[in-house]
């Protein structure tokens, strides 16, 4: 049982801790898991989260930065004032928990539909788009020399990777072909500056409370590249959850996002943001195709995966709305 290992681990690095309780798995596939648990402490229970690759799953998928890098980035972000959970402990072999890290639990909501609909977030919603702009500016300003080793990906390289991923699916989709062609024709080339890119900054990966964004999660796709990528990805229609007229995660307008970003002293290139929004829409569509393929060929024969495969058509209509809009 994982509680025994967590208990021994917490007692080693958390001064005064007497054990761990209430461990529950939150999510995860075979190679990466997230658990919540409580550290028992005389001063009161400390809510914690474990992110780990269980023993025997050392190798990270090719696009992932790896859990060690993720921990380092979250800590850097936390120190720089970007809303982020505090990293409490990076796993060592004595923990007997695999590889990964333990962070302080941040209370709040990550389920996008609740954030967009529930009354308790009504006051937060109007400020989120602008706030997100400020957070992204802070994230893009993290000092390069302190970052862990990360892959570098620019627009040109991403196009050819998606092209290859799409072709490996053997899943002919004229709309995806059209999008790939558009991306090649509009490739903005290398950006003027290369910064940290979160890589999966969107509604669903943010912990939100009544006061706004409390933490940015899921840094596993972090890399170095064009900062406008994060601004485009957060605008992809798939993360608006029905609020299609509010491009920034269903919260607000691009103008608010850009204003928040520029108020924090950074410059927006709207053309590049649009490019990355198209790229992001295609990226999610190809990911849906990947789910379909894994459902068909992999050991995980789950209904959820199968149904995500059928969501590729959502990205097709969104790509058409971006590239071939019909007269209103």
């Amino acid at each position: 049982m994982i509680e025994a290992e967590l208990s021994r681990s917490a007692q080693r690095w958390c001064k005064g801790a007497t054990g761990a309780t209430s461990a529950a798995k939150l999510s995860g596939g075979a190679s990466q898991e997230t658990w919540r648990f409580d550290i028992v402490h005389p001063d009161g229970v400390i809510g914690a989260i474990l992110r780990r690759s269980p023993k025997g799953y050392g190798a990270a998928p090719t696009r992932a930065a790896g859990l060690a890098a993720e921990a380092q980035l979250m800590q850097l972000a936390f120190e720089a004032g970007v809303p982020s959970p505090r990293v409490m402990h990076v796993l060592v072999p004595e923990d007997d928990l695999g590889t990964g890290f333990i962070m302080q639990r941040v209370e709040g909501e990550t389920i996008a539909r609740k954030i967009l609909r529930d009354e308790q977030y009504a006051a937060a919603r109007p400020i989120l788009a602008r706030q997100i702009g400020g957070i992204l500016a802070g994230l893009h300003r993290l000092p390069r020399d302190k970052l862990p080793e990360l892959r570098i990906r620019g627009a040109t390289q991403e196009i050819s990777e998606f092209d290859r991923d799409y072709r490996s699916l053997n899943w002919p989709k004229p709309v995806f072909e059209l999008a790939l062609r558009w991306l090649r024709d509009h490739d903005p080339g290398p950006s003027a500056e290369t910064t940290l890119v979160h890589g999966d900054f969107r509604n669903g990966n943010l912990i939100i409370g009544a006061d706004g964004v409390r933490a940015v999660l899921d840094w596993e796709l972090a890399h170095l590249g064009d900062p406008m990528e994060d601004l485009g990805w957060v605008c992809v229609n798939s993360w608006r959850f029905g609020e299609i007229d509010k491009p920034v995660g269903g919260f607000g307008s691009r103008e608010e996002l850009f204003a928040g970003y520029e108020a924090a002293g950074r410059k927006v290139d709207p053309e590049r943001v649009k490019f990355w929004e198209v790229m992001g829409t295609l990226r999610w569509g190809i990911m849906c195709g990947g789910m379909m393929q894994r459902f068909r060929e992999g050991p995980d024969h789950s209904m959820e995966r199968a149904m995500i495969g059928r969501r590729a058509s959502e990205t097709e209509i969104d790509l058409l709305r971006l590239l071939a809009p019909r007269g209103s």
Binding site: E304, M307, R326
Partner: protein, 125 residues
Amino acid sequence: MQDEPTPIELTKAVADFLRNDITPLISGHQAFKLRVAINILDLVTRQLTQEEGSNAREVERLRGLLGIDGSVTELNRALAERIAKGEADLTTPGLAEHLWATTMDKLAVDQPNYASYKRELGRGG
């Protein structure tokens, strides 16, 4: 010829049974999975109902666009190749209309509640 009731009637009967009789008995993660299962059956029912007509219209349009004949899969592959080679694009007469019609037919089966689809449907097709 296969016997009756039809696949459409059968999947609909199973979906209705799960929705009306089983849903109230299930909770937690299994309830979530049950909802996914019902969604799958509903999708299959929509596909069985609509696919024949939408495929026929799609093939008709593809024949016109490409000037060749084939199955819906073969014709889609041929169109994808032409776009990849730069032989067809949004300036090709009828291509945008074809892609819109095809995509709308797909969404009608996959995700008729998707907000972008409902918006475009409101535009009159």
